[in-house]
């Protein structure tokens, strides 16, 4: 069904936006200010980064799963990091885990997920021509691009990239003499991250401004799709927390290069007592986790938002508890700022602070639980269509639950004493934040690919991709809980030095590595599907998923300005699926109540009178302003 509605207001004003001259190749595809192009740039960059990031993890999984394996075949890629006997260099092992973390958290799940879908969906779902500032949006991508290039470069320098863990705790990261990875690689890491933060801030300001100022007529906050709510709150989180990471990084740069002592005190290293006194390594951890914890939600909230949309659409049911979902996300966004020190229970921080943060941390589980229950209830008595996007969304909810539950254990400071920095933590956050967010990203790609590229992804390949990935991820991370309970510390190059890790779980580790390789292999199905469908995929219909949101009213291949003619106004929320009495099982947001008397609820009949008012509202149309 074509939902280009014949809204009189839309027709009345003629399309008047063809006064833009055709743009050069560079302006159109490279230095583009169009939010759709920028979103695609983020998506492609994110996919490339994820291939690199996951490859790194496969390399260190080889070391962990098969410690005796000769890795000579990696020499063409890793060169001198494989020694003469075919062993991976322990320094480079740490570099691999560090870069895997950095790349996946920041470059894939922050830039690739938020960057892609906030950019793509915010204007299309709120009914705007473009972002509030196309120029800042372009700058945002290119700052990210420069940051990417620096990070990529650091992989190839002689002393190797940063390798003190993705959390780069000083003094290890501050002292070049302490560690190979703290030499030039660390400098590049810090500069790259500083630029990355600039990019995130430019993007975030844009998202917030667009959502607040450029909503179409009738699109009140209470009618916004949950995707937009999620992107909005994510941007707010990023805007408040990323500057703190920037300051942490700057102070670290000062300590490294200008002789300050923010994080350094009473250090004797390599036969020399350093003059620095009075600094505190704990200060860095506080600053880092003040971003680091919200960061978890920065990567997770957009995934949850998109999942809400996809699950509602494909269950053909309104999302259960729309307001509760918003309230939960707001609760999560607020609490995200006051739980950071649960990463620091055993750092020597005052135990009283630990108690406070334990209470606050476990409060955040309540809104998370509400969200999970709401997703499950949305499925209940639905009429579910398993599109690949829907499968990935269900997978996300499963990961979110499975990984989230172990958070109740780790958030309990008494239990964290034993489990801190073991594989239990690795299993926990990979499920709840890594895999769940990655599934959100994949679900989003499967769902909005038709809107992005005007073609459909192949569904069958999508199914195969989903099942292999879903099973693979559980096979990788579920056994890690056991290894963690057995006390295996993370970031260990080998488990041969201790009696309590020696000779046990070797087969389990090998199994995890195989499962990781299997999961990685499955991603090539997606890459193939993506590239193939981009060129030869089936042409997308106007509204392939029979969805209510506004983006499906725009042309199949939206041009500059998204809608031809006037932007449609919005009269109802985004979740009128299977409404009793309605002839279709969905009613798009731009269909006025006056056209659906058969399905209106009593209070909605009263809203019919508002429609004239909505249509008469000032339309903040970026193209009809003097410029």
């Amino acid at each position: 069904m074509a939902t280009e509605s014949a809204n009189p207001a839309t027709v009345a004003h003629a399309a008047e936006h063809d006064h833009h001259e055709p743009q050069s190749f560079w302006r159109k595809y490279i230095f583009s200010e169009d939010h759709k192009t920028i979103a695609k740039q983020y998506l492609i960059s994110g996919i490339i980064w994820s291939i690199i990031g996951i490859s790194l993890s496969v390399m260190f999984r080889l070391q962990l799963g098969f410690p005796a394996m000769k890795l000579d075949f990696l020499r063409p890629i890793l060169g001198g990091w494989i020694d003469e006997t075919g062993k991976l260099d322990p320094d480079f092992y740490l570099a691999l885990v560090t870069m895997h973390g950095t790349i996946m958290v920041f470059f894939v799940l922050t830039a690739g997920l938020s960057g892609t879908f906030s950019n793509f969906l915010i204007p299309l779902q709120v009914g705007a021509r473009d972002m509030a500032s196309g120029f800042l949006n372009m700058l945002s991508y290119w700052f990210f691009f420069i940051a990417s290039m620096l990070m990529l470069w650091s992989l190839f320098i002689e002393t190797g990239p940063a390798s003190g863990g993705w959390v780069i705790y000083p003094p290890l990261s501050a002292l070049p003499q302490a560690h190979k990875g703290s030499e030039f690689g660390m400098t590049l890491w810090l500069i790259s991250m500083a630029l990355f933060i600039v990019s995130q801030l430019l993007g975030g300001i844009n998202y917030i401004t667009t959502v607040i100022n450029l909503r179409t007529r009738g699109m009140s906050f209470s009618k916004l799709p949950l995707t937009i709510w999620a992107f909005f709150l994510t941007a707010v989180l990023g805007l408040i927390s990323f500057p703190v990471l920037l300051s942490a990084a700057l102070l670290l740069i000062f300590d490294r290069s200008f002789g300050t002592s923010f994080y350094l005190s009473e250090i004797y290293i390599k036969g020399e007592a350093l003059p620095n006194v009075g600094g505190s390594p704990i200060l860095f951890q506080h600053l880092f986790w003040f971003l680091g914890h919200p960061e978890v939600y920065i990567v997770l909230l957009p995934a949850l938002g998109m999942t809400s949309e996809i699950i509602a659409t494909n269950s053909r049911k309104p999302i259960f508890g729309y307001r509760a979902m918003i309230a939960s996300m707001m609760g999560i966004a607020f609490l995200a700022f006051i739980v950071w020190a649960h990463h620091m229970f055993v750092t020597g921080m005052n135990p009283f602070l630990g108690s406070i943060f334990m209470f606050l941390t476990l409060i955040i589980a309540v809104p998370s639980a509400v969200k999970a229950f709401n997703y499950i209830t949305t499925l209940w008595r639905g009429n579910i269509r398993f599109t690949p996007a829907m499968l990935f969304s269900i997978g996300l909810v499963s990961f979110f639950i499975s990984g989230g539950l172990t958070g109740l254990i780790l958030g309990n400071s008494a239990l964290d004493i034993q489990l801190h920095d073991t594989y239990f933590v690795v299993a926990h956050f990979h499920l709840v934040m890594g895999a769940a967010s990655a599934f959100g990203l994949l679900a989003g790609v499967y769902h909005w690919f038709p809107k992005m590229f005007g073609r459909m992804l192949n569904e069958k390949l999508g199914y195969v991709h989903f099942w292999m990935t879903f099973i693979g991820i559980y096979l990788v991370f579920f056994p890690m809980h056991y290894i963690g309970i057995a006390g295996f510390p993370r970031r260990y190059y080998a488990f041969t030095s201790y009696d309590f890790t020696k000779n046990i779980f070797a087969d389990m580790n090998a199994f995890i590595s195989l499962a990781a390789i299997f999961t990685f292999a499955a991603q090539w199905i997606f890459i193939y599907n993506f590239v193939y469908s981009l060129i030869k995929g089936r042409k997308a219909p106007q509204n392939p998923w029979k969805s209510n949101t506004l983006e499906w009213t725009a042309p199949i291949n939206p041009g500059h300005g998204n809608w031809v003619g006037e932007i449609p106004p919005v009269y109802r929320w985004a979740y009128d699926y299977s409404k009793p009495g309605a002839k279709d099982d969905f009613i798009p947001q731009n269909v006025p109540f006056s056209q659906t008397p058969e399905s209106n609820l009593p209070h909605e009949n009263e809203l019919i009178g508002m429609e004239k008012e909505i249509e008469a509202q000032y339309l903040n149309d970026q193209f009809n302003q003097p410029h």
């Binding site: 098969f66 049911k317 020597g348 639980a369 209830t377 579910i384 099973i471 009696d499 779980f505 193939y532």
Partner: protein, 372 residues
């Protein structure tokens, strides 16, 4: 093992080949006309797969748990550790119930409410009562978990008893150094990082007379069983973290900010050898904060022994000052007489000959015996 690996690799390769060959046929059929709204077989297959996944994963979960259980750490050797272990398994029980129920509902609903021709989904946008219920229930359960956890945390992190036996453990790249409070006064002397050198690895400050009898070790830490032990934790260069898995002890070592952790171990190494049935069992201290290349091998042995053998072992130890007499030059003049008994001879004298050294060592032993 390697055969299993090869076998699995072959299976995966086979699967990959099947997928690739299927891909070609699938893709060929993909360019047909758009079948608007047609929902066919694959929907049913996917729905059924969720149920199959649910069943298989529960079997896998139970089997893998039973298999892995044998490798979990044995019962903790500290009372606080047994307490947190109990809380851990209690919490684990609660979350396992939640885990199974919610995941099962998710997959069962997916299967049960899959698309059926002509059926219309329920328009069920909200139910405040239901939402209230499932806000309150997790909140109450979590409150209980938090409260029990908080009480344990409070007790574990409380101030050490005054009579706790104090040891110092210092992390450096890439080993631990332990410092004992000495053969005579049972008091740790002061330290200063600027005094560190190859002779004095923990930076013992010899202007403090409590330092004179302190001794250090890089190979093992001996502690008495059944007595509170206070570990004073320091780091010399970068962050480290003291991790004693069998005692459920973990605390970061931070340069410039000494930390501490106290506990009472109640199973000696020998007792643990009997319990685990492993005649080579030994307690170990590991590092769990990444500290550089040798992070994975910062092992130091921990020996828990009964009071008598602990005391006997202590008596055999020599103060660092006796082992490295050059350090005496750091002792201020007014304290030199107090340090004399730990020194081989007058510091102005020529290097001590073996006869005097042994005499003095004997003297030290006598002194410590009488003091105790």
């Amino acid at each position: 093992m390697i055969y299993i690996v090869i076998l699995l690799s072959v299976i995966f390769l086979g699967l990959a080949a099947v997928v690739v060959s299927r891909m070609a046929t699938v893709v060929k059929n993909a360019n047909g006309p758009v079948e608007e709204g047609h929902i066919g077989m694959s929907n049913r297959i996917n729905g059924a797969l969720f149920m199959i996944f649910l069943v298989l994963s529960i079997i896998g979960f139970v089997w893998s748990f039973l298999y892995a259980k044998q490798f979990f750490l044995p019962e903790a050797s500290t009372p606080h550790g047994r307490r947190t272990d109990f809380l851990f398994w209690l919490s684990m029980g609660i979350i396992t119930v939640a885990f199974v129920i919610t995941n099962a509902l998710l997959f069962i609903f997916a299967w049960l409410y899959q698309y059926k021709e002509g059926r219309k989904a329920a328009y069920y946008p909200e139910n405040h009562k239901l939402e209230l219920i499932w806000t309150v229930i997790p909140a109450v359960v979590m409150a209980v978990m938090v409260f029990t956890g908080w009480r344990a945390w409070r007790d574990i992190m409380s101030e050490a008893p005054a009579d706790a036996q104090v040891f110092e453990i210092v992390g450096k790249q890439f080993n631990w150094i332990v410092r004992y409070p000495g053969v005579d006064n049972n008091k740790l002397g002061a330290f200063n990082y600027k005094l560190i050198d190859s002779n004095n690895e923990t930076g013992i400050d010899y202007t403090d007379e409590a330092s004179f009898d302190d001794y250090v070790s890089t190979s093992e830490l001996h502690i008495p069983v059944g007595r509170p032990v206070l570990l004073k934790i320091r780091a010399r260069d970068v962050l480290h973290s003291v991790f004693i898995p069998h005692l459920r002890v973990k605390m970061d070592a931070v340069p410039g900010m000494p930390t501490r952790f106290w506990f009472t171990a109640d199973k000696t190494t020998d007792e643990m050898r009997n319990i685990t049935g492993n005649p080579n069992f030994g307690y170990e201290i590991a590092c769990t904060e990444v500290c550089g290349q040798g992070h994975f091998s910062m092992r130091i042995r921990l020996i828990i022994e009964d009071e008598a053998s602990y005391q006997a072992w202590c008596k055999e130890q020599k103060p660092l000052l006796s082992a490295v007499p050059e350090l005496a030059s750091r002792i201020p003049a007014n304290l030199k007489s107090k340090a004399a008994k730990y020194l081989p001879a007058e510091e102005t004298a020529a290097p001590a000959d073996s006869v005097t050294a042994s005499v003095i060592t004997k003297g030290v032993k006598v002194a410590s015996a009488t003091l105790r």
